[in-house]
Symmetry: C2
Subunit: 103 residues, 2 copies
């Protein structure tokens, strides 16, 4: 079962859900940007400067979180996201390399 | 430029377009089924028994064709589809392995 914040375990991740999350260009851009950071780096949702409303940003990050692509952590009055690098490499070997090769 | 039937060249294939094509469960199922066939095997669109109308089937195969996932060939009064195995392995190494591991 996903944890209370909606993060699935590695075993619960589903490729079709992940592909669906990545099919949106803004969400793909977030994952691609996180991939270009040092492994484990956290960025606030606002730092991506997505050209959409705050509630839409919240929606996109929920889709990414529930697919297992990012982990969100509370930071006082903002939230930061990290890429679930190790979990994704374990569950879907080759996926992050594909995204890295197609930024 | 894609050929007159809408097949992109290997270089023209775009990962986000491919992910978008795969994000639909029926289309994912078609690709997954073609992967379980011998390489180069052709199947008619009707053989997949998709539970949707003929025009929707045509739509789904167009999305797959235009993403570069399948090649469609005319066979008299029906059309057959083959997976673009070699092209996909060349352009997106690891993608077909991911789908094979997640049928």
């Amino acid at each position: 079962m996903p944890d209370p914040e909606g993060h699935p375990s590695t075993e619960e991740m589903d490729l079709r859900t992940v592909l669906n999350a990545l099919a949106d260009p803004l969400r793909y851009g977030v994952v691609s940007a996180l991939l270009s950071e040092a492994e484990g780096a956290a960025r606030t949702c606002a730092s991506f400067n997505l050209p959409v409303s705050k509630s839409t940003i919240t929606h996109h990050f929920r889709v990414l979180r529930e697919a297992g692509l990012v982990r969100q952590v509370d930071r006082g009055n903002s939230r930061a996201a990290t890429l679930r690098h190790e979990d994704l490499d374990k569950r879907f070997p080759g996926l992050l390399d594909l995204i890295r090769a197609n930024p």
